[in-house]
Amino acid sequence: MNTMAMSTVERIDAFFEQQAKRGHVRLLDHVSGTVEFDVEGAGRRWITINRGDLIVSEDSGRADCVLTCNTDTFIRIISGEQNLVAAAIRGSVRVAGDLALGLRIQRAVSDGDG
């Protein structure tokens, strides 16, 4: 897909659409929980993992972990350019709740060679 031609919000939408199609993620076989991504200017999304099965929704409500950041930071994180741990301890991503869950899910859904 040609991400260069897309707007920031479109890229974020495309990311979640792509995740929604993944179904099962082996890296998350032992993980269950919900992470809310609250991207300033691009709305809120929830990714729920149930022992590796991945569901994306736009109104899940309760989350075990909430990650809040701006669109630039979010794009950099999902593209694998920005390390989430560094961003979290720097304060450019704000974390509430279970950071461990947020980290695991982020590592599984971001682009990378793995």
Partner: protein, 685 residues
């Protein structure tokens, strides 16, 4: 006056406090005082005065690893004048610290005093403290809602220290003042809390509603330590120092427990003061040493390292899919990616060590569920070994950093100049050190067992067994130095055999990769005058070009290194030699009040009548603290066999008998008894 003065250190959880003997914190370039948490100094100044005068120390007590008590009187201490005021200062660490002050008027007249605590924080990253770097952001102070806030901001990075007191005090940006009226023989007391945030739940305080961790109550750590000591096996021994060394080990391992946050439970941090964090290699080795005593450390270590396992290629962090981390840090330089520790993966041995510990943990604990839970991570780790660890396809795991910020040496001897030829010249990168190949061999043999027994994957088991056998054959050919009758330390980037004689060859016995004939030759080196100093086996043999008895990895004796080598000697049937090495290290421990340092000098035992501590060694250091535990296992010959614990002791002549009761494991609890005096049936096996 450049010499560092005596300090008092206390720690609990992820916090530690280093002060002078009066309890004051006064950080200077030569004094690494401070309240540290999450790799950041949250207090660099904390000085108590009465009526503007400093206090002098009458005595102090290190009550426990988590608390200390200071008995003080006014005066500078040059000329002692009968004091008319007594001051007691008791401090307990945990999410910051809590300090209790008690002042007593020893005269029969009432009086008024002004007691002041001066406070400041530089929020230095531990890396900055170590390398004396300057800050890029701004500090600030404010007084609000009855608390003094010391803060630091650099863009979105915010850290704050919150200080409150129980009694009425006047707060100002530089500290707090108590105006106290004391009746004749009257007393006054106050409790002061210094709080630091939990950085893993770290959001700037104004955004998370100001959530800061509360200092733990005084009673909790004491109770927790009692439970920890109470659940460890009970040791008795006719060699008197053993009980003290054993107790010291258990208490230091309790003190070094680090709560990784990412999973429940505690794992061993690497050491105080510089290494209070997760280190793949150190946490894995320490957990291995401690398995027969406190197996829960291994479970947390494996889970935490699995959670942080590499998933992508990231050259800045030397990260690759399946790789186990080297070091994780939370300070400002890591936050701004001036250092790669978020986490950093520059370690070529932590991945095979992870697999070794996983198998060993199941052998002791029978925790099948853990082996099932970590199957995916174990398979990814195996894949890393062959796909990424072997960088040039020669069948051996070698390392070379991708960026200048990474580590030059990614084996346990991680100083830049540790891998030398016999003539003292430097080897080239990438380097395949010998002990890493041993770990890979052991990892494959062990995971073959896990695959067959628990994962129902015979094909994988058979493949791993073939690969292990092939690796062993190749290794014994390719790494052997016929003219020196030893294994090479490494094969370097030019394909040259790095031919210095080092302690690394001892690890090959621990792993089982050495052929029996080659092992016998290695034992002659290990127990010969070049490597064995009398206090233990040196990292590099005396007589080598690079040898230096006080060189970090070039001739010093490292207790943890010796514990693995002694286990290796025993594995190959050299029980007398194992007992000699174990005894040398245990005797050395008696010169350090039972607490083994990270390393001590490699001087010959007959040259110095006591072991000389390495100048900047960390203390306590986790794998030094774990050393007596693995030595005890080796001396008693403890080995899980099926559902039972095999005991087959071989004690040094100084020890007549040794008893360990209530050893935890898959057998629930069992006892081991060892008797000295002409144990028979020893020899090569």
């Amino acid at each position: 006056m450049a010499m560092a003065k005596k300090t008092v250190s206390i720690l609990e959880g992820n916090t530690f406090v280093v002060s002078d003997l009066a309890g004051n914190i006064d950080a200077t370039p030569v004094e690494t005082h401070g309240l540290f948490a999450w790799d950041t100094r949250f207090l660099s100044r904390w000085i108590l005065t009465i009526d503007g005068q400093p206090l002098q120390t009458l005595s102090r007590d290190d009550l426990d690893y988590f608390s200390a008590q200071f008995f003080l009187v006014p005066g500078t201490g040059t000329v002692y004048v009968d004091a008319d005021l007594s001051v007691m200062r008791k401090r307990s660490a945990g999410n910051g610290f809590r300090e209790k002050l008690l002042v007593r008027n020893e005269k029969s007249e009432a009086r008024d005093i002004e007691l002041r605590l001066e406070a400041a924080a530089d929020f230095a990253d531990l890396f900055e403290v170590k390398d004396a770097l300057s800050k890029k952001g701004e500090t600030y102070q404010r007084v609000e809602d009855g608390r003094l806030v010391l803060g630091y901001r650099r863009e979105t990075f915010v850290r704050e220290t919150w200080i409150t007191s129980s009694g009425p005090s006047a707060l100002d940006p530089k500290g707090m003042t108590f105006r106290v009226h004391l009746e004749p023989h009257g007393e006054w007391q106050a409790t002061i809390d210094v709080r630091v945030p939990d950085v893993l739940k770290a959001t700037p305080p104004e955004l998370n509603g100001g959530e800061h961790g509360a200092p733990a109550s005084d009673a909790a750590p004491a109770k927790d330590l009692d439970v920890w000591l109470g659940s460890a096996p009970k040791l008795t021994c006719d060699w008197a120092p053993m009980a003290r060394i054993y107790q010291r080990s258990l208490v230091d391992l309790a003190a070094l427990r680090f709560f990784p946050g990412i999973v429940a439970g505690a794992l061993p941090a690497a050491g105080l003061p510089w290494f209070m964090s997760i280190f793949g290699r150190d946490s894995l080795v320490t957990s291995y040493q401690a398995l027969p005593f406190v197996p829960e450390l291994a479970t947390t270590t494996l889970r935490a390292l699995a959670a942080w396992q590499g998933t992508r290629r990231d050259d800045f962090r030397d990260e690759e899919p399946g790789k186990i981390l080297h070091e994780l840090r939370f300070g400002e330089m890591t936050a701004f990616e001036e250092r790669p520790h978020s986490p950093y993966f520059g370690s070529a041995d932590s991945t095979p060590l992870f697999l070794i510990l996983l198998d060993e943990t199941e052998r002791w604990t029978g925790d099948r569920a853990l082996v099932a839970e970590l199957e995916g991570e174990a398979r990814a780790a195996l894949h890393w070994i062959d796909a990424y660890g072997d960088r040039n396809g020669d069948g051996y795991v070698e390392y070379e950093r991708h960026m200048k910020t990474g580590l030059e040496n990614q084996c346990w001897k991680d100083s830049w100049n540790s891998i030398l030829f016999a003539d003292g010249s430097m080897s080239k990168l990438p380097r395949a050190t010998c002990e890493i190949q041993g770990y890979v061999y052991d990892a494959k043999v062990r995971v073959a067992r896990l695959a067959r027994t628990f994962w129902n994957d015979t094909a994988l088991a058979e493949r791993l067994e073939r690969e292990a056998a092939d690796l062993k054959a190749r290794f014994n050919r390719d790494f052997w130095l016929p003219d020196r009758q030893a294994f090479a330390l490494a094969i370097d980037g030019d394909g040259g055999k790095v031919d210095a004689i080092t302690s690394n060859i001892g690890h090959l016995l621990w792993s089982g990769i050495a052929d029996p004939g080659h092992a016998a030759a290695c034992v002659r080196h290990l127990m010969g005058d070049g490597l064995f100093s009398g206090w233990g086996i040196r990292t590099m043999a005396e007589g080598e070009g690079g040898y230096n008895p006080i060189g970090y990895h070039l001739g010093t004796v490292w207790p943890h290194d010796n514990s693995l080598i002694a286990a290796g000697l025993a594995r190959y049937g050299y029980r007398d030699e194992a007992a000699r090495v174990a005894m040398a290290i245990l005797e050395a421990a008696t010169y350090f009040n039972g607490r083994l340092p990270e390393a001590f000098a490699g001087y010959r035992r007959d040259l110095t009548s006591f072991p000389v501590e390495y100048p900047t060694a960390c203390s306590p250091q986790a794998w030094a603290s774990g050393t007596p535990l693995l030595l005890l296992r080796t001396l008693l010959g403890l080995e899980p066999v099926g559902e039972h614990l095999l005991v087959d002791s071989a004690l040094p002549e100084q020890i007549g008998w040794l008893q360990l009761l209530d050893i935890p494991g898959r057998w629930r609890r069992t006892d081991a008894f060892g008797r000295g005096l002409g144990a028979t049936g020893r020899g090569q096996g």
